[in-house]
Symmetry: C2
Subunit: 273 residues, 2 copies
Protein backbone atom coordinates (compact mmCIF):
# COMPACT_ATOMS: atom_id res chain seq x y z
CA UNK A 1 0.00 0.00 0.00
CA UNK A 2 1.45 3.33 -1.05
CA UNK A 3 0.20 5.24 1.92
CA UNK A 4 2.09 2.95 4.28
CA UNK A 5 4.85 5.45 4.88
CA UNK A 6 2.37 7.74 6.59
CA UNK A 7 0.95 5.10 8.86
CA UNK A 8 1.16 5.52 12.59
CA UNK A 9 0.34 2.88 15.21
CA UNK A 10 -1.38 3.60 18.51
CA UNK A 11 -2.06 0.83 21.02
CA UNK A 12 -3.04 2.63 24.18
CA UNK A 13 -6.31 4.36 24.99
CA UNK A 14 -4.20 6.70 27.13
CA UNK A 15 -2.27 8.05 24.17
CA UNK A 16 -2.65 11.86 24.16
CA UNK A 17 -3.96 12.00 20.57
CA UNK A 18 -6.63 9.42 21.40
CA UNK A 19 -7.58 11.43 24.46
CA UNK A 20 -7.94 14.54 22.33
CA UNK A 21 -10.06 12.71 19.75
CA UNK A 22 -12.15 11.16 22.51
CA UNK A 23 -13.24 14.69 23.43
CA UNK A 24 -14.89 14.92 20.00
CA UNK A 25 -17.63 12.68 21.33
CA UNK A 26 -18.98 15.72 23.18
CA UNK A 27 -20.41 18.88 21.65
CA UNK A 28 -17.95 20.94 23.72
CA UNK A 29 -14.97 19.04 22.33
CA UNK A 30 -16.22 19.43 18.76
CA UNK A 31 -16.68 23.15 19.28
CA UNK A 32 -13.22 23.61 20.76
CA UNK A 33 -11.39 21.58 18.13
CA UNK A 34 -13.53 22.33 15.05
CA UNK A 35 -13.49 18.63 14.26
CA UNK A 36 -15.95 15.74 14.35
CA UNK A 37 -15.96 11.95 14.03
CA UNK A 38 -17.65 9.88 11.34
CA UNK A 39 -17.88 6.09 11.31
CA UNK A 40 -18.14 3.33 8.75
CA UNK A 41 -16.73 2.59 5.32
CA UNK A 42 -19.60 3.98 3.25
CA UNK A 43 -19.78 7.29 5.06
CA UNK A 44 -16.01 7.82 4.90
CA UNK A 45 -16.04 7.04 1.18
CA UNK A 46 -18.80 9.61 0.73
CA UNK A 47 -16.76 12.16 2.67
CA UNK A 48 -13.82 11.50 0.35
CA UNK A 49 -16.03 11.77 -2.75
CA UNK A 50 -17.47 15.04 -1.46
CA UNK A 51 -13.94 16.40 -0.86
CA UNK A 52 -14.33 16.92 2.87
CA UNK A 53 -11.16 17.75 4.77
CA UNK A 54 -10.08 14.60 6.58
CA UNK A 55 -7.74 15.08 9.52
CA UNK A 56 -7.10 11.38 10.12
CA UNK A 57 -8.33 7.96 9.15
CA UNK A 58 -8.34 5.46 12.00
CA UNK A 59 -8.73 1.73 11.61
CA UNK A 60 -8.69 -1.34 13.81
CA UNK A 61 -5.35 -3.09 13.29
CA UNK A 62 -7.08 -6.41 13.93
CA UNK A 63 -9.38 -5.85 10.95
CA UNK A 64 -7.00 -3.99 8.62
CA UNK A 65 -7.95 -1.00 6.45
CA UNK A 66 -10.93 -2.10 4.31
CA UNK A 67 -9.85 -2.65 0.72
CA UNK A 68 -12.57 -0.54 -0.91
CA UNK A 69 -11.52 2.35 1.28
CA UNK A 70 -7.84 1.91 0.42
CA UNK A 71 -8.78 1.94 -3.28
CA UNK A 72 -10.85 5.05 -2.70
CA UNK A 73 -7.86 6.84 -1.19
CA UNK A 74 -5.61 5.78 -4.06
CA UNK A 75 -8.17 6.93 -6.63
CA UNK A 76 -8.01 10.48 -5.33
CA UNK A 77 -4.29 10.21 -4.49
CA UNK A 78 -5.00 11.59 -1.05
CA UNK A 79 -2.29 11.92 1.56
CA UNK A 80 -4.49 11.49 4.60
CA UNK A 81 -2.72 10.53 7.84
CA UNK A 82 -3.70 6.94 8.54
CA UNK A 83 -3.58 5.62 12.09
CA UNK A 84 -3.71 1.94 12.95
CA UNK A 85 -5.08 1.40 16.45
CA UNK A 86 -5.93 -1.39 18.88
CA UNK A 87 -9.52 -2.63 19.23
CA UNK A 88 -9.93 -0.91 22.65
CA UNK A 89 -9.03 2.42 21.02
CA UNK A 90 -11.66 1.90 18.29
CA UNK A 91 -14.21 1.01 20.94
CA UNK A 92 -13.33 4.10 22.94
CA UNK A 93 -13.80 6.43 19.96
CA UNK A 94 -16.80 4.68 18.41
CA UNK A 95 -20.37 5.60 19.14
CA UNK A 96 -21.99 2.44 17.81
CA UNK A 97 -22.49 -0.86 19.59
CA UNK A 98 -20.88 -2.87 16.81
CA UNK A 99 -18.14 -0.65 15.36
CA UNK A 100 -17.17 -1.39 11.75
CA UNK A 101 -13.59 -0.80 12.79
CA UNK A 102 -12.97 2.35 10.81
CA UNK A 103 -13.41 6.00 11.77
CA UNK A 104 -12.40 9.34 10.36
CA UNK A 105 -11.77 12.70 11.99
CA UNK A 106 -13.19 15.47 9.80
CA UNK A 107 -12.81 19.21 9.83
CA UNK A 108 -16.10 21.05 10.20
CA UNK A 109 -16.98 22.96 7.07
CA UNK A 110 -16.61 26.66 7.59
CA UNK A 111 -19.57 28.20 5.81
CA UNK A 112 -20.27 31.83 6.48
CA UNK A 113 -23.91 32.71 6.80
CA UNK A 114 -23.43 35.88 4.76
CA UNK A 115 -22.17 33.85 1.81
CA UNK A 116 -25.11 31.54 2.05
CA UNK A 117 -27.44 34.53 1.89
CA UNK A 118 -25.46 36.36 -0.81
CA UNK A 119 -25.51 33.32 -2.98
CA UNK A 120 -29.18 33.91 -3.27
CA UNK A 121 -30.20 30.32 -3.51
CA UNK A 122 -33.84 29.75 -4.36
CA UNK A 123 -34.61 26.91 -1.93
CA UNK A 124 -33.80 27.13 1.77
CA UNK A 125 -34.79 25.08 4.79
CA UNK A 126 -34.79 26.65 8.25
CA UNK A 127 -34.83 24.27 11.21
CA UNK A 128 -36.07 25.75 14.45
CA UNK A 129 -35.73 23.85 17.74
CA UNK A 130 -35.69 20.29 16.41
CA UNK A 131 -34.46 18.22 19.36
CA UNK A 132 -34.18 14.65 18.16
CA UNK A 133 -30.90 13.91 16.31
CA UNK A 134 -32.55 11.16 14.23
CA UNK A 135 -35.21 13.60 13.05
CA UNK A 136 -32.63 16.23 12.13
CA UNK A 137 -30.52 13.72 10.20
CA UNK A 138 -33.51 12.36 8.30
CA UNK A 139 -34.70 15.87 7.47
CA UNK A 140 -31.25 16.75 6.08
CA UNK A 141 -31.31 13.58 3.96
CA UNK A 142 -34.74 14.50 2.57
CA UNK A 143 -33.66 18.10 1.97
CA UNK A 144 -30.71 16.83 -0.03
CA UNK A 145 -32.99 14.57 -2.09
CA UNK A 146 -35.44 17.42 -2.74
CA UNK A 147 -32.73 19.79 -3.97
CA UNK A 148 -32.64 22.20 -1.03
CA UNK A 149 -29.58 24.44 -1.46
CA UNK A 150 -29.05 25.97 1.96
CA UNK A 151 -30.03 24.84 5.44
CA UNK A 152 -29.96 27.12 8.45
CA UNK A 153 -30.27 25.50 11.87
CA UNK A 154 -31.53 27.71 14.65
CA UNK A 155 -29.29 27.88 17.69
CA UNK A 156 -31.79 25.88 19.74
CA UNK A 157 -31.72 23.01 17.29
CA UNK A 158 -29.68 19.90 18.10
CA UNK A 159 -26.06 20.22 16.97
CA UNK A 160 -25.30 19.20 13.39
CA UNK A 161 -22.20 17.18 14.28
CA UNK A 162 -23.94 14.93 16.82
CA UNK A 163 -23.06 11.35 15.80
CA UNK A 164 -26.72 10.32 15.46
CA UNK A 165 -27.46 13.27 13.18
CA UNK A 166 -24.54 12.31 10.96
CA UNK A 167 -25.57 8.67 10.88
CA UNK A 168 -29.18 9.33 9.87
CA UNK A 169 -28.24 12.03 7.34
CA UNK A 170 -26.31 9.32 5.45
CA UNK A 171 -23.75 11.57 3.79
CA UNK A 172 -26.11 14.44 3.01
CA UNK A 173 -24.29 16.79 5.37
CA UNK A 174 -21.38 16.66 2.94
CA UNK A 175 -23.57 17.77 0.01
CA UNK A 176 -25.30 20.78 1.47
CA UNK A 177 -24.39 24.21 2.78
CA UNK A 178 -25.51 24.08 6.41
CA UNK A 179 -24.95 26.74 9.05
CA UNK A 180 -26.19 27.21 12.60
CA UNK A 181 -27.24 30.77 13.46
CA UNK A 182 -29.87 33.05 15.04
CA UNK A 183 -33.05 32.61 12.98
CA UNK A 184 -34.48 35.85 14.42
CA UNK A 185 -31.94 37.77 12.36
CA UNK A 186 -31.72 35.43 9.38
CA UNK A 187 -35.40 35.54 8.45
CA UNK A 188 -35.56 39.32 7.74
CA UNK A 189 -32.36 39.02 5.68
CA UNK A 190 -33.85 36.26 3.56
CA UNK A 191 -37.03 38.29 3.10
CA UNK A 192 -35.00 41.30 2.01
CA UNK A 193 -33.44 39.11 -0.68
CA UNK A 194 -36.89 38.24 -2.03
CA UNK A 195 -37.18 34.85 -0.34
CA UNK A 196 -40.69 33.96 0.85
CA UNK A 197 -40.53 32.34 4.29
CA UNK A 198 -43.21 29.68 4.78
CA UNK A 199 -44.02 28.11 8.12
CA UNK A 200 -46.25 25.25 9.18
CA UNK A 201 -49.08 25.07 11.67
CA UNK A 202 -52.04 22.71 12.07
CA UNK A 203 -54.21 25.83 12.30
CA UNK A 204 -53.15 27.40 8.99
CA UNK A 205 -56.00 28.00 6.55
CA UNK A 206 -54.21 26.76 3.43
CA UNK A 207 -52.76 23.31 2.84
CA UNK A 208 -49.21 22.91 1.57
CA UNK A 209 -50.43 22.11 -1.93
CA UNK A 210 -52.54 25.25 -2.15
CA UNK A 211 -49.57 27.60 -1.99
CA UNK A 212 -47.16 28.52 -4.79
CA UNK A 213 -43.75 27.16 -3.83
CA UNK A 214 -42.06 27.77 -7.19
CA UNK A 215 -40.61 31.15 -6.21
CA UNK A 216 -37.62 31.68 -3.97
CA UNK A 217 -38.72 30.00 -0.76
CA UNK A 218 -37.48 29.13 2.70
CA UNK A 219 -39.48 26.46 4.50
CA UNK A 220 -39.28 26.73 8.26
CA UNK A 221 -40.11 23.83 10.57
CA UNK A 222 -40.36 23.86 14.34
CA UNK A 223 -40.09 21.71 17.42
CA UNK A 224 -41.38 18.12 17.39
CA UNK A 225 -44.01 18.68 20.07
CA UNK A 226 -44.65 22.41 20.07
CA UNK A 227 -44.10 23.43 16.45
CA UNK A 228 -43.14 27.05 15.76
CA UNK A 229 -43.24 29.59 18.57
CA UNK A 230 -45.77 32.41 18.36
CA UNK A 231 -43.06 35.02 17.83
CA UNK A 232 -41.63 32.94 14.99
CA UNK A 233 -45.04 32.68 13.34
CA UNK A 234 -45.21 36.48 13.39
CA UNK A 235 -42.04 36.64 11.31
CA UNK A 236 -43.01 34.31 8.47
CA UNK A 237 -44.78 35.36 5.26
CA UNK A 238 -47.28 32.55 5.02
CA UNK A 239 -48.43 29.59 7.08
CA UNK A 240 -49.43 26.24 5.63
CA UNK A 241 -50.83 23.04 7.08
CA UNK A 242 -50.78 19.36 6.20
CA UNK A 243 -54.31 17.98 6.17
CA UNK A 244 -54.96 15.04 8.48
CA UNK A 245 -57.50 12.91 6.68
CA UNK A 246 -57.61 10.00 9.11
CA UNK A 247 -57.52 9.83 12.89
CA UNK A 248 -53.83 10.51 13.55
CA UNK A 249 -53.34 13.64 15.65
CA UNK A 250 -50.17 14.68 13.88
CA UNK A 251 -47.37 13.58 11.60
CA UNK A 252 -43.75 13.05 12.57
CA UNK A 253 -41.85 16.29 11.87
CA UNK A 254 -39.48 14.64 9.40
CA UNK A 255 -42.47 13.34 7.41
CA UNK A 256 -44.16 16.74 7.45
CA UNK A 257 -40.98 18.48 6.30
CA UNK A 258 -40.40 15.96 3.52
CA UNK A 259 -43.95 16.43 2.23
CA UNK A 260 -43.52 20.19 1.94
CA UNK A 261 -40.04 20.02 0.39
CA UNK A 262 -41.28 17.54 -2.21
CA UNK A 263 -44.36 19.62 -2.98
CA UNK A 264 -41.90 22.16 -4.32
CA UNK A 265 -40.24 19.43 -6.41
CA UNK A 266 -43.67 18.50 -7.81
CA UNK A 267 -44.63 22.10 -8.54
CA UNK A 268 -41.30 22.80 -10.25
CA UNK A 269 -41.88 19.83 -12.53
CA UNK A 270 -45.62 19.95 -13.09
CA UNK A 271 -46.14 23.69 -12.64
CA UNK A 272 -48.01 25.40 -9.85
CA UNK A 273 -51.81 24.89 -9.58
CA UNK B 1 -62.18 5.79 43.32
CA UNK B 2 -65.00 3.57 42.09
CA UNK B 3 -62.79 1.01 40.49
CA UNK B 4 -61.05 0.33 43.79
CA UNK B 5 -63.03 -2.80 44.42
CA UNK B 6 -61.35 -4.42 41.43
CA UNK B 7 -57.84 -3.49 42.42
CA UNK B 8 -55.27 -6.18 42.98
CA UNK B 9 -51.79 -5.72 44.46
CA UNK B 10 -48.67 -7.57 43.27
CA UNK B 11 -45.29 -6.99 44.91
CA UNK B 12 -43.11 -9.78 43.58
CA UNK B 13 -41.54 -10.12 40.17
CA UNK B 14 -41.92 -13.87 40.70
CA UNK B 15 -45.69 -13.70 40.81
CA UNK B 16 -47.05 -16.12 38.16
CA UNK B 17 -49.19 -13.43 36.44
CA UNK B 18 -46.17 -11.15 36.15
CA UNK B 19 -44.16 -14.02 34.72
CA UNK B 20 -46.88 -14.65 32.14
CA UNK B 21 -47.03 -10.97 31.21
CA UNK B 22 -43.26 -10.80 31.05
CA UNK B 23 -43.42 -13.31 28.20
CA UNK B 24 -45.31 -10.66 26.19
CA UNK B 25 -42.00 -8.88 25.72
CA UNK B 26 -41.14 -11.52 23.12
CA UNK B 27 -42.88 -12.13 19.80
CA UNK B 28 -43.36 -15.78 20.76
CA UNK B 29 -45.15 -14.84 23.99
CA UNK B 30 -47.40 -12.39 22.14
CA UNK B 31 -48.29 -15.02 19.58
CA UNK B 32 -49.08 -17.66 22.19
CA UNK B 33 -51.20 -15.39 24.39
CA UNK B 34 -52.77 -13.13 21.76
CA UNK B 35 -51.90 -10.15 23.96
CA UNK B 36 -49.41 -7.29 23.89
CA UNK B 37 -48.12 -4.53 26.18
CA UNK B 38 -48.51 -0.79 25.70
CA UNK B 39 -46.88 1.88 27.86
CA UNK B 40 -47.59 5.42 28.95
CA UNK B 41 -50.62 7.48 29.88
CA UNK B 42 -51.32 9.00 26.47
CA UNK B 43 -51.19 5.71 24.59
CA UNK B 44 -53.41 3.94 27.12
CA UNK B 45 -55.94 6.78 26.92
CA UNK B 46 -55.92 6.46 23.15
CA UNK B 47 -56.49 2.72 23.46
CA UNK B 48 -59.49 3.41 25.72
CA UNK B 49 -60.85 6.04 23.32
CA UNK B 50 -60.46 3.64 20.41
CA UNK B 51 -62.32 0.94 22.36
CA UNK B 52 -59.49 -1.58 22.40
CA UNK B 53 -59.97 -4.61 24.63
CA UNK B 54 -57.85 -4.05 27.71
CA UNK B 55 -56.99 -7.15 29.74
CA UNK B 56 -55.36 -5.30 32.62
CA UNK B 57 -54.09 -1.89 33.62
CA UNK B 58 -50.90 -1.97 35.66
CA UNK B 59 -49.48 0.94 37.62
CA UNK B 60 -46.59 1.63 39.94
CA UNK B 61 -47.95 1.78 43.49
CA UNK B 62 -45.25 4.32 44.33
CA UNK B 63 -46.61 6.69 41.71
CA UNK B 64 -50.35 5.96 41.96
CA UNK B 65 -52.73 5.68 39.01
CA UNK B 66 -52.40 8.93 37.03
CA UNK B 67 -55.47 11.10 37.57
CA UNK B 68 -56.21 11.80 33.91
CA UNK B 69 -56.22 8.06 33.30
CA UNK B 70 -58.56 7.41 36.23
CA UNK B 71 -60.92 10.07 34.85
CA UNK B 72 -60.70 8.46 31.44
CA UNK B 73 -61.78 5.11 32.87
CA UNK B 74 -64.67 6.70 34.74
CA UNK B 75 -65.81 8.56 31.63
CA UNK B 76 -66.35 5.30 29.78
CA UNK B 77 -67.47 3.48 32.92
CA UNK B 78 -65.03 0.70 32.12
CA UNK B 79 -64.53 -2.22 34.44
CA UNK B 80 -60.93 -2.97 33.57
CA UNK B 81 -58.96 -5.03 36.08
CA UNK B 82 -56.47 -2.69 37.69
CA UNK B 83 -53.29 -4.05 39.21
CA UNK B 84 -51.07 -2.05 41.54
CA UNK B 85 -47.49 -3.32 41.46
CA UNK B 86 -44.06 -2.61 42.95
CA UNK B 87 -41.50 -0.54 41.02
CA UNK B 88 -39.37 -3.66 40.26
CA UNK B 89 -42.43 -5.25 38.59
CA UNK B 90 -42.98 -2.15 36.41
CA UNK B 91 -39.31 -2.17 35.48
CA UNK B 92 -39.48 -5.84 34.59
CA UNK B 93 -42.47 -5.37 32.28
CA UNK B 94 -41.43 -2.03 30.81
CA UNK B 95 -39.43 -1.66 27.63
CA UNK B 96 -38.37 1.94 28.12
CA UNK B 97 -35.44 3.26 30.09
CA UNK B 98 -37.55 5.69 32.09
CA UNK B 99 -40.93 3.99 32.55
CA UNK B 100 -43.88 6.34 33.12
CA UNK B 101 -45.13 3.86 35.69
CA UNK B 102 -48.22 2.71 33.85
CA UNK B 103 -48.75 -0.16 31.42
CA UNK B 104 -51.68 -1.94 29.87
CA UNK B 105 -52.10 -5.46 28.56
CA UNK B 106 -54.19 -5.38 25.38
CA UNK B 107 -55.87 -8.08 23.33
CA UNK B 108 -54.68 -8.19 19.75
CA UNK B 109 -57.41 -7.18 17.34
CA UNK B 110 -58.70 -10.12 15.41
CA UNK B 111 -59.20 -8.84 11.89
CA UNK B 112 -59.80 -11.41 9.20
CA UNK B 113 -58.09 -10.73 5.94
CA UNK B 114 -61.19 -11.78 3.99
CA UNK B 115 -63.25 -9.08 5.71
CA UNK B 116 -60.63 -6.49 4.93
CA UNK B 117 -60.82 -7.46 1.27
CA UNK B 118 -64.62 -7.80 1.17
CA UNK B 119 -65.01 -4.37 2.66
CA UNK B 120 -63.62 -3.10 -0.56
CA UNK B 121 -61.83 -0.15 0.86
CA UNK B 122 -60.41 2.25 -1.70
CA UNK B 123 -57.02 2.94 -0.10
CA UNK B 124 -54.68 0.15 1.00
CA UNK B 125 -51.06 0.04 2.04
CA UNK B 126 -49.06 -3.17 1.65
CA UNK B 127 -45.80 -3.40 3.59
CA UNK B 128 -43.31 -5.92 2.30
CA UNK B 129 -40.18 -6.83 4.30
CA UNK B 130 -39.78 -3.65 6.31
CA UNK B 131 -37.32 -4.60 9.06
CA UNK B 132 -36.91 -1.56 11.30
CA UNK B 133 -39.67 -1.25 13.94
CA UNK B 134 -39.32 2.55 14.03
CA UNK B 135 -39.86 2.73 10.28
CA UNK B 136 -42.93 0.50 10.46
CA UNK B 137 -44.46 2.52 13.29
CA UNK B 138 -43.85 5.83 11.55
CA UNK B 139 -45.31 4.49 8.30
CA UNK B 140 -48.45 3.36 10.14
CA UNK B 141 -48.78 6.83 11.72
CA UNK B 142 -48.48 8.48 8.30
CA UNK B 143 -50.93 6.01 6.77
CA UNK B 144 -53.44 6.90 9.47
CA UNK B 145 -52.94 10.62 8.79
CA UNK B 146 -53.37 10.12 5.03
CA UNK B 147 -56.62 8.19 5.41
CA UNK B 148 -55.40 4.72 4.49
CA UNK B 149 -58.16 2.25 5.34
CA UNK B 150 -56.46 -1.11 5.39
CA UNK B 151 -52.85 -2.14 5.93
CA UNK B 152 -51.51 -5.57 5.08
CA UNK B 153 -48.10 -6.49 6.43
CA UNK B 154 -46.25 -9.19 4.56
CA UNK B 155 -45.12 -12.11 6.69
CA UNK B 156 -41.47 -11.04 6.39
CA UNK B 157 -42.21 -7.61 7.81
CA UNK B 158 -41.34 -6.87 11.44
CA UNK B 159 -44.16 -7.84 13.82
CA UNK B 160 -46.87 -5.24 14.42
CA UNK B 161 -46.92 -5.69 18.20
CA UNK B 162 -43.20 -5.06 18.72
CA UNK B 163 -42.96 -2.37 21.42
CA UNK B 164 -40.96 0.00 19.21
CA UNK B 165 -43.53 -0.26 16.42
CA UNK B 166 -46.31 0.59 18.85
CA UNK B 167 -44.38 3.50 20.32
CA UNK B 168 -43.61 5.14 17.00
CA UNK B 169 -47.10 4.51 15.60
CA UNK B 170 -48.43 6.73 18.43
CA UNK B 171 -51.90 5.22 18.69
CA UNK B 172 -52.47 4.75 14.98
CA UNK B 173 -52.51 0.96 15.30
CA UNK B 174 -55.80 1.39 17.18
CA UNK B 175 -57.37 3.36 14.33
CA UNK B 176 -56.63 1.14 11.39
CA UNK B 177 -57.45 -2.35 10.17
CA UNK B 178 -54.08 -4.06 10.02
CA UNK B 179 -53.42 -7.71 9.23
CA UNK B 180 -50.29 -9.74 8.60
CA UNK B 181 -50.55 -12.23 5.74
CA UNK B 182 -48.96 -13.68 2.58
CA UNK B 183 -48.75 -10.81 0.08
CA UNK B 184 -48.24 -13.29 -2.79
CA UNK B 185 -51.86 -14.33 -2.40
CA UNK B 186 -53.30 -10.99 -1.28
CA UNK B 187 -52.21 -8.99 -4.32
CA UNK B 188 -54.22 -11.01 -6.91
CA UNK B 189 -57.28 -10.83 -4.63
CA UNK B 190 -57.02 -7.04 -4.43
CA UNK B 191 -56.59 -6.81 -8.19
CA UNK B 192 -59.68 -9.00 -8.70
CA UNK B 193 -61.62 -6.46 -6.61
CA UNK B 194 -60.55 -3.65 -8.93
CA UNK B 195 -57.75 -2.32 -6.76
CA UNK B 196 -54.71 -1.05 -8.66
CA UNK B 197 -51.51 -2.18 -6.96
CA UNK B 198 -48.71 0.37 -7.25
CA UNK B 199 -45.10 -0.31 -6.31
CA UNK B 200 -42.01 1.85 -6.06
CA UNK B 201 -38.62 1.57 -7.68
CA UNK B 202 -35.87 4.09 -8.38
CA UNK B 203 -35.87 2.75 -11.95
CA UNK B 204 -39.58 3.33 -12.68
CA UNK B 205 -40.24 5.61 -15.65
CA UNK B 206 -43.03 7.65 -14.04
CA UNK B 207 -42.79 9.75 -10.90
CA UNK B 208 -45.38 9.36 -8.14
CA UNK B 209 -47.13 12.58 -9.17
CA UNK B 210 -47.50 11.47 -12.78
CA UNK B 211 -49.83 8.59 -11.95
CA UNK B 212 -53.54 8.75 -11.17
CA UNK B 213 -53.98 7.67 -7.54
CA UNK B 214 -57.63 8.68 -7.21
CA UNK B 215 -58.98 5.23 -8.04
CA UNK B 216 -59.01 2.25 -5.73
CA UNK B 217 -55.31 1.81 -4.97
CA UNK B 218 -52.95 -0.27 -2.90
CA UNK B 219 -49.49 1.21 -2.46
CA UNK B 220 -46.82 -1.41 -1.82
CA UNK B 221 -43.47 -0.56 -0.25
CA UNK B 222 -40.48 -2.85 0.19
CA UNK B 223 -37.38 -3.44 2.26
CA UNK B 224 -35.28 -0.49 3.50
CA UNK B 225 -32.16 -1.48 1.60
CA UNK B 226 -33.35 -3.72 -1.20
CA UNK B 227 -36.80 -2.37 -2.06
CA UNK B 228 -39.30 -4.72 -3.69
CA UNK B 229 -38.14 -8.13 -4.88
CA UNK B 230 -38.17 -8.87 -8.61
CA UNK B 231 -41.01 -11.36 -8.24
CA UNK B 232 -43.04 -8.79 -6.34
CA UNK B 233 -42.47 -6.19 -9.05
CA UNK B 234 -43.91 -8.71 -11.55
CA UNK B 235 -47.14 -8.81 -9.58
CA UNK B 236 -47.88 -5.09 -9.38
CA UNK B 237 -49.87 -3.07 -11.91
CA UNK B 238 -47.64 -0.02 -12.10
CA UNK B 239 -44.29 1.14 -10.79
CA UNK B 240 -43.52 4.70 -9.71
CA UNK B 241 -40.41 6.49 -8.53
CA UNK B 242 -39.61 9.47 -6.34
CA UNK B 243 -37.30 11.85 -8.19
CA UNK B 244 -34.00 12.63 -6.44
CA UNK B 245 -33.23 16.22 -7.35
CA UNK B 246 -30.14 16.69 -5.20
CA UNK B 247 -27.23 14.41 -4.38
CA UNK B 248 -28.86 12.04 -1.88
CA UNK B 249 -28.77 8.45 -3.09
CA UNK B 250 -32.15 7.57 -1.65
CA UNK B 251 -34.88 8.58 0.78
CA UNK B 252 -35.72 6.87 4.05
CA UNK B 253 -38.52 4.35 3.35
CA UNK B 254 -40.93 6.04 5.76
CA UNK B 255 -40.41 9.37 3.95
CA UNK B 256 -40.92 7.75 0.55
CA UNK B 257 -44.11 6.02 1.70
CA UNK B 258 -45.50 9.20 3.24
CA UNK B 259 -44.89 11.14 0.02
CA UNK B 260 -46.85 8.63 -2.05
CA UNK B 261 -49.72 8.30 0.43
CA UNK B 262 -50.07 12.08 0.60
CA UNK B 263 -49.95 12.43 -3.16
CA UNK B 264 -53.25 10.56 -3.11
CA UNK B 265 -54.57 13.02 -0.49
CA UNK B 266 -53.53 15.89 -2.76
CA UNK B 267 -55.08 14.34 -5.87
CA UNK B 268 -58.34 13.59 -4.06
CA UNK B 269 -58.59 17.25 -3.03
CA UNK B 270 -57.18 19.01 -6.05
CA UNK B 271 -58.10 16.46 -8.70
CA UNK B 272 -55.76 14.32 -10.73
CA UNK B 273 -53.44 16.03 -13.26
Amino acid sequence: MESEKKMEVIQSTNNPRIKTWYQLKSKKGRQEQGLYIIEGIKLIEEAIDAKQEIEALIFDQGKDLPESLALHLEKYDLSIPIVSVSTPVIEKLSDTETPQGVLAILKKKNIEIEKLLENQFSFYLLIDQIQDPGNLGTIIRSADAAGVQGIILGNSTVELYNSKVIRSAMGSIFHLSIVQDELDQIIPKLQKNGVKVIGTSPYASKTYFEVDLTQKVAIIVGNEAKGLSDSRKQQVDEMIKIPLVGKAESLNVAMATTLILYERVRQMEKGWA
